[in-house]
């Protein structure tokens, strides 16, 4: 993404500017959770929604590859990959979905298939013990530190995007 003040280019996952006058600057980042309406109404019945009034064929068109994200195989048109400036890390299928976790300069990708529903996984990450589980309602994984109530920066993502932002990331292999 780019800002309209300096036209610097920013990695929208890591929050780091990598080209332009602000190259090297980093935004504060924090997790954004994905969920289903059904799960949100159960957990946060008073949740309020920012809605868009924009209506256009462009919106309809862009929705087509994203009709379903959570637990989906996914699809991106071939021309999308031509816009990427480096080859996709071949260690996993490019559209593999999983939970990416980040702490400092360390990152790890937990493929969805390694996180079975109803099971709690413990792992070592960034020198600490991390606990991962998937929500019963929406199947979305989340991670917390075993000691404490919070967790590392995390996002539900696909391999091509996460490995692009964190090329040296580890992969959790069950």
């Amino acid at each position: 993404m780019t800002d309209e003040e300096t036209w610097s280019l920013w990695d929208h996952i890591s929050g780091e500017a990598f080209e332009g006058p602000l190259a090297g600057q980093k935004l504060e980042i924090w997790p954004i959770s994905m969920t289903l309406v059904e799960a949100a109404l159960a957990k946060m019945p008073d949740l309020r929604i920012y809605t868009s009034s924009y209506r256009s064929w462009k919106q309809w068109f862009m929705h087509l590859p994203h009709r379903k994200f959570i637990n989906s195989k996914g699809f991106l048109p071939p021309q999308f990959y031509l816009t990427m400036s480096q080859p996709i890390d071949p260690r996993l299928p490019k559209l593999e979905q999983g939970l990416g976790v980040i702490e400092g300069d360390q990152a790890k990708f937990y493929p969805m298939k390694s996180l079975p529903k109803g099971e709690m996984i413990t792992d070592s990450f960034a020198g600490r013990t991390i606990v991962l589980e998937r929500s019963e309602i929406d199947g979305v994984p989340s991670a917390k530190w075993q000691a404490g109530v919070d967790g590392p920066m995390q996002l539900l993502s696909r391999w091509y995007g996460f490995s692009y932002s964190y090329p040296d990331c580890d992969i959790y292999l069950q």
């Binding site: 996952i13 289903l36 949100a40 929604i49 920012y50 868009s52 919106q59 929705h63 590859p65 400036s85």
Partner: protein, 76 residues
Amino acid sequence: MKAIDRAKAKVTTGKFQFLPLRPKHDQPLASLHLPGDAELLVLERGGEHRGLIAREMAYHHICQGELEGQPFLVSF
């Protein structure tokens, strides 16, 4: 540091520009009558939560605003 072709990056600043969502107001989720399997993004600032409809963000890609006096930018 990534090497990037700025000419390619400029694609989205031309005719087919994605307009960021700049929310002016919000509505209760329950009042929107969305299907139970519709996907949401949920952000939190200063203890307050707000949702975004994923199918709308698939176009906008970015939502930029302020919540509880704190600026935020959500990308999707």
